[in-house]
Amino acid sequence: MMLDALRQQLTHLQKPAGLAEGPVMLPLGVTAVDDALGGGVLRGALHEIAAAGEAHLPAATGFTLGLAALATSNKHLVWIAEDMALTESGVPYGAGLKAFGLSPERFVIVAVAHRHELMAAMEEALRCRAVGAVLGEVRDGALDAVAVRRLSLAAGDSGALAFLLRAQPPHDASTAATRWTVQTAPSVIPGQREFGGPRFAVHLTRNRRGPSASWILEWRNPDDGFVLAAHAEPVAAPLRHRSHQKVA
């Protein structure tokens, strides 16, 4: 209890400039996940979400948008993607965004030709006060560490959520606050032929404020958000508890 209170205090002391108003953490509503994250998704920080492989990219997209919806109830979402990503993996479909609680009216998609343009455009978008979340989609290859660091700082200044959506699990080091790997999970209960909500097997592989872990989450609807899928087994054992990283 005592430790938790201290942790909360510390979080508030370390608030970046952009978090002066509004909550610091955006809770997902899933207790297990929120506890591991220290209260929820950290605003004003960069979060990296990678698909476990090319085929899992739609699932990773869905999970990212579910998180982005936490911050864009009355703000804009800017989605910046390389041309190649849009051609290969499909363009965001306005009518489908609504299922994840995003309003297509407050959605801007930017196509860029080069990686450095993507980073610059993300930084520019993060500095805009009308933007609640910025999503940058990159296909593969390493990222410029300096540019990523700049993104973290820009997010801290504005309080917006910054996401990097990657088609492959990255191998590089990162300054992101959290790093996730997302796999798609069957929504159909074996033996039945009925659809459930979209399910994601998410692995929190890097967490600056707590342990890493894995869950299977289900996206119900824009009102209920994520729920912990009860019946499924975790696809991988939770990683070693890293107590030395627990304090932010």
Binding site: L57, G90, G94, Q192, P198
Partner: protein, 518 residues
């Protein structure tokens, strides 16, 4: 009205490209007219030898074997004339090409910027001479009079009302008449404009056609002759000349801001805002740089305009190429729109305004086509129903309000999160012809389907024949299925064509994947 004639245009162009070689030889330009090779243009030396334009090349060669003959290049001539016209924009925005070798400039209201008509003419002449062009120019109240004076009369500046005295002694060709008309007038002894100026009008028209008197009336100012400028005239223009050429980007941006402040005042007076702004930079050597930037909403703020051009300049830093510097800059609002007063205070904490600025900045840097908004369209065909449009183009009503009403009234199957820009064909096996597929192969991966929802029948746009070519799935009716495979990947598949419509020999129905669910 200023008429500029470059009497040695074609030969001057060739001389400019050459170093001072083949000095002594008279230069002529020859080309085909009908079936004969004739001289198109000649230089001074050739004229002194007694040659003239229109003479057969063989005849000229027979008279003077030592001729430097260059084939005609009408395209290069046109291009150079356009370039000179661009360069003349420094004097007035109203410049028209007077092909093949002249320009018309409307300098009314512009001459004072140079200290008067004489100073303007002196400046223009000096620069043309430096560039190596022979020129004749005249200023008069009408296009016709200025043209006549430049080509056939005494080049000078004539005041309004002097047209009659100016024109009377000139030959009829100076009226820009077709040569046959001039020739037939000559046959009845009418040689100069003065000969016809007071003749009864109806016999003249009856015999020589309406064109004759119309040109006369236009030259005399009895009838208005409009100038058709090469470029659309901007509604708002601000410009600045520099005594010392500027080259640095900061200086250019500083100038932009100063000009923008002047534009802002003018825009505000009329309640307008700029939707498209163009910066024209005049290089000392006569080259021109045009940089345009669009805005998502009518814009009036000078600092915002500067920010817009800062983005544009950043993208073309290498191409700006100031050479020896720019000696003049002009900022024009190409498209202006009425702007309600409340949109102007964008400095206030106004989220919509912030978003508009972000869209403008990104569009300026990446291109307007790359920054897009999702809009809802009134169509039942999925790839048309929700498309993206350039964010700067979209209007307030992007159709989502209507779409939401429609969705709440009609229970529609869910839509995918990502849509492939073109449906991709897949190999699929279905249990029953009209049912969902059992498994399908897409991008070399096999997917076993464990659950499927559907079909949702979407009829093709049978009233649009051209759609058949536009989409690989053609214009056939589609049955959409939402399917999930063993590992949980969710796809939006459809079968184009119905088995019940299948005619012998027709295209059998085929399967496509169109999108992915999250």
């Amino acid at each position: 009205m200023l008429s500029l004639w470059l009497p040695r245009f074609a030969t001057d162009r060739i001389r400019r490209l050459r170093e001072a070689t083949q000095e002594g030889l008279p230069l002529v330009v020859a080309g085909k007219r009908g079936n004969a090779d004739v001289l198109i243009a000649i230089d001074d030396a050739a004229e002194q030898l007694g040659l003239s334009a229109g003479m057969a090349l063989a005849q000229a060669r027979a008279m003077h074997p030592a001729l430097d003959v260059v084939p005609e290049d009408a395209h290069a001539d046109d291009e150079l004339l356009e370039a000179i016209a661009d360069w003349c924009l420094r004097y007035t925005p109203l410049v028209a090409c007077d092909a093949p070798d002249g320009l018309l400039l409307d300098i009314s209201g512009c001459a004072h910027l140079y200290g008067g008509e004489r100073e303007l003419v002196a400046d223009l002449g000096r620069r043309l001479t430096q560039a190596g062009f022979a020129y004749r120019l005249a200023i008069a109240g009408t296009i016709g009079a200025a043209w006549a004076a430049a080509h056939d009369g005494r080049p000078d500046a004539y005041a309004n009302g002097e047209e009659r005295d100016l024109l009377a002694p000139l030959p009829l060709g100076a009226l820009r008449l077709p040569p046959p008309v001039v020739a037939s007038l000559g046959r009845v002894g009418l040689k100069t404009i003065g000969d016809i100026i007071d003749l009864p009008r109806s016999p003249l028209t009856a015999r020589f056609g309406g064109e004759l008197l119309r040109q006369l009336d236009r030259a005399l100012g009895r009838e208005h002759e409009p100038l058709t400028p090469r470029l659309p005239v901007a509604p708002y223009v601000a410009e600045k000349r520099f005594h010392e050429p500027i080259a640095r980007e900061e200086d250019v941006l500083g100038t932009v801001e100063k000009l923008a402040a002047r534009l802002a005042t003018a825009l505000e007076r009329r309640g307008d805002g700029a939707r498209r702004i163009e910066l024209t930079l005049f290089r000392t050597d006569g080259a021109l740089r045009r940089i345009a930037a669009g805005t998502a909403r009518p814009l009036r703020d000078a600092a915002d305009m500067r920010a817009l051009f800062a983005e544009r300049l950043a993208t073309l830093a290498d191409e700006l190429d100031p050479g020896f510097g720019f000696d003049m800059a002009r900022l024009s609002v190409l498209i202006a729109e009425p702007a309600p007063a409340e949109q102007i205070g964008m400095g206030s904490a106004n989220d919509a305004g912030e978003m508009v600025r972000l869209i403008d900045r990104l569009s300026a840097r990446l291109g307007a086509q790359r920054v897009r908004c999702a809009v809802a369209q009134d169509s039942h065909i999925p790839e048309i129903a929700a498309i993206t449009l350039p964010a700067q183009m979209t209007v307030k009503d992007d159709g989502w309000a209507a779409y939401n009403r429609h969705r709440s009234a009609v229970e529609l199957a869910p839509r995918p999160l990502r849509l492939l820009s073109r449906p991709e064909p897949v190999e699929a096996i279905a249990e029953v012809p009209d049912g969902p597929p059992l498994r399908f192969k897409w991008r070399r991966a096999l997917h076993d389907i464990v659950a499927a929802e559907g079909p949702e029948r979407i009829e093709g746009a049978w009233w649009q024949e051209e759609n058949i070519e536009a989409s690989p799935a053609g214009n056939r009716a589609r049955d959409y299925f939402r399917v999930e495979d063993k590992s949980g990947h969710r796809f939006w598949l459809f079968r184009a064509g119905l088995y019940r419509d299948l005619v012998p020999g027709g295209t059998p129905p085929s399967w496509f994947v169109h999108g992915m669910f999250g």
